[in-house]
Symmetry: C2
Subunit: 229 residues, 2 copies
């Protein structure tokens, strides 16, 4: 029997839409009724994760915990969070509920370990908050994570992210992100699209090295964990 | 202050994803936190609406009512149902809750009245259930609704719908749907993409007459009714 999935989302809303689309596409149904039931709290009012981590804004933890508890009460049996930066608060979410909360960043680490030797340099294209909080560094200790220079991070990476969030564009953001990646030293063996907006911009991009798509991995994990024929 | 939107969905799951995407795109935010909070019950287990209307399957009404009540209890202040066939059970849903439930089909009627003289022939490309239940006919009494021949309805329209639902394809379904429309007599002044899968297939299609997109109208109505700057 399939499990009911809860999505703690809205960070931003398009990332939640994209995760739901991916889950639907990856579920091998033979008729509509076999698809997973998904309960969603798409709550864009959750405070900016980057600002909170940098100490310039309120913590999103209380609202994340509240929405997680709502999802659990509504019947969700497993929770997914389609937002990389929010994973800095994963422990807070896990404390708030007794159901399983998937770790999207841990899935990226597992995928890297399957494909590359320990210690390889890997480029992290993520929000400044994710970089500063060392959210990925903490969960992927076995690889050398490289982040762009402060100037590139601000202009190219964050510039690209806010363009995807607010203008729903991908071409110019994609160019900016690949430029930021090209300046990394040493040259990385792979890139992590470590922000859902980066993932939207880089999916299908022509990159010289493999690009890991955390939300795509999360969608596959949801189907693997929750779907039952 | 914006209102919390509830989406009673999963019929099919891609239609729900598409409505959420459209609402997000149509909301004129200047920052992420201004987007609408959306609570979703994407519940593909809701029994097939067409089968119920044709008397060959169980009624979806009890599950529709249950999910509507859940959404209301969770805090939704307005409910939208991204499924044309489910509108045959709109009165049941409205009975179950005290909050506003939008009428996607009524929006189509309003749009037709704005653009065409009363009594004009309009092609309805929808599920057999929607046609048989005369769901659109009841809500749009001022126009002459034309449906394809039983053979076209079965092979081309329902064939196209199940291809979109199960195979996530749009090109072959689009061809089939436009062929079915071309056989209507008298020639319609407009087409109603009266099933969310038909809408996915026909959005942006090169049709000789205007195609009304109910879900697009619904998304605009959600923003108009729920969003506050």
């Amino acid at each position: 029997m399939s499990r009911i999935v809860g999505i703690l989302g809205g960070m931003g809303p398009m990332s939640t839409v994209d995760l739901m689309r991916k889950v639907t596409e990856k579920t091998p149904v033979t008729k509509e009724q076999e698809h997973l039931r998904i309960l969603v709290d798409s709550r864009p009012q959750i405070p900016d994760r980057t600002a909170a981590i940098l100490g310039t804004g309120p913590s999103p933890a209380p609202m994340l915990q509240e929405s997680a508890r709502l999802l659990e009460r509504w019947g969700a049996e497993i929770i997914a969070i389609p937002c990389n930066s929010a994973h800095a608060f994963l422990d807070d979410v896990r404390e708030a509920v007794s159901i399983q909360v998937l770790d999207m960043l841990g899935l990226v680490g597992q995928e890297l370990s399957r494909s590359f030797p320990e210690g390889s340099p890997v480029g992290l294209l993520a929000t400044t908050g994710t970089g500063e909080a060392r959210t990925y560094h903490g969960r992927i200790p076995d690889f050398k994570l490289l982040t762009p220079s402060p100037q590139d991070q601000e202009d190219r990476v964050m510039g690209a992210i806010y363009q995807v969030k607010l203008e729903d564009r991908v071409e110019e953001p994609r160019r900016k992100l690949l430029e930021a990646a090209a300046s990394l030293d040493p040259a990385p063996v792979a890139l992590i699209a470590g922000c859902t907006e980066v993932e939207l911009a880089l999916a299908g991009a022509d990159s010289p090295v493999p690009v890991l798509l955390p939300m795509d991995l999360l969608a596959s994990e949801i189907v693997a964990q929750a779907w039952d024929e």
